[in-house]
Amino acid sequence: MATFKREYLFNSLFLAITALSSFLVIALLLGIFLVLLKESLPAFQRFGFLGFILSSSWDPVKENFGGAIPLFGTLVTSFFALILAIPIALGIAIFITEVAPKSLREPIGMAIELLAAIPSIIYGMWGLFTLAPIQSKYIEPFLQKTLGSLPYFGKLFSGTPLGIDIFTASLILSIMIIPFTASVARDAFQLVPPVLKESAYGVGATKWEVIKDVVIPYCKLGILGGIGLSLGRALGETMAVAFVLGNLNQFPSSLFSATATVTVKLANEFTEADKDIHLASLFYLALLLFIMSFTILAIAKYFIQRTGTK
């Protein structure tokens, strides 16, 4: 009887410990939100919400802060990164699931996933020392010559190509997020019932038509989820962007101009902010970034989960 009681006690104890550990995940997320909220309160009281996100001044001397430029920079770099990354990632997923010979699928998939394992600081340093000089010497002048004379679009390619700009940052971001979309899309493609594909082949469709008209429509949710996952990553990426974007509080005039993102501002100014309101404004930016990426990731994960249970 005594041992039975002891076993019961141990079991309850272990249950309590494991339960507390798993609640820690919620406590952490809630804690992050509340702490950021508390720390950014002085800035919120002083500048308000619209006043902060619409103001482009960032003046530590006059103590006047607004987040328009870093927020815009974050959205623009992530947007261009997505435009570059989505077609590539989908192409890779199609190649791995439908085109490549069986023996090559595994190694190529593994290699693409390794792109996600390389630390972001390596991307940043490589971008600064290797990619940025190549960009400013060859790629950007070439784009300027060829695409710069187009109507409307030409303006995107104006300015002096220095290599430290939105274009380089977006290119590196796009390389970093390829594996996230690619692996989610690949998993979704593999869930397509073979019968669906076979019936399309049966009426004489080519492989590309099967992919375009059967596989991709069937996996719409999964693909959207993969894109959302990539977007969440791109918004919060710090070190890679910090090296190749500069930290210039100025709206970009073209793809070839430096600007700032939320993460770059945080990385560069956080430890140097000596005034409370400066630090509070940085926390405010962090809070906005947290809310943005949390929302996007939640939607993306929801989509991905739904495809898994279909």
């Binding site: 609640f23 190649f95 394992a117 340093m125 919060g236 993460t263």
Partner: protein, 278 residues
Amino acid sequence: MIKRRKIINQIALFICFLTAVWGLFWLFFILFDVVRHGLTALTPSLILNDPAPPGVSGGGLKHAILGHTLITITATLIGVPIGILGGTFLAEYGRNWAFSRIISFLADIMVSVPAIIVGAFVYALFVKPIGHFSGFAGALALAFIMIPVIVRTTENMLSLIPWTLREAAFALGAPYYKVIFQIVYRGAGMGIFTGIILAIARVTGEAAPLLFTSFNNAFTSYNLREPLASLTVTIFQYAMGPYEDWHRQAWGASFLITLFILGLTLVGRYLIKRRFKH
């Protein structure tokens, strides 16, 4: 008409092939560059020497390697037990509880939450009240990043153990905690271990959360209560700095860290593959 469709098919599939080439191109370009620069920088003095004053060449990265190892080990010691226990709850005691699904959904999101935000959180929680940066704060930030990763992998690995195995143990009168320790953990041990390896690989490359927590230290230190240098923050500082020798050392540090992480990742992937083959 049929011919045109066939040509379109060929072109489209060829473009898919090109996208794979594009992805592999950047992977090899980056790795090749890191190895090329890294090998020229890699000397015994790079690993064994204390750092030299700025501008003086010949220093090493001993301080950063030691600091980074200390921070990572501490983070692992905090993050791994909590992560495993949390995952155990989700897969065992709380498996039929709707709230557990919410926790594992949130853990999934937290895996992708920007690391720099975790850094800012730990800064507000530990660095600001104490008044100075510390290696322990850095380890805590890394542990917070690790916990959701390990929670999720542990939960997945435990769910793979067939339920009948547990029932067999229950039938012998074993209490649940004993079933978990002696049946479930034993069966899922390799999977959990793989999750830990991948989680360590994930946090070793983080620089952003360390910027505001463990900060940096120009001297060799073993004290977790003081600011500690780490390889990643040192790379940031050296690569942005003006000295040629700093850039060389930054490449050396990048080489070391990339080698370590890719090695761990490949081992982890290999273990997963081996497990699912049987």
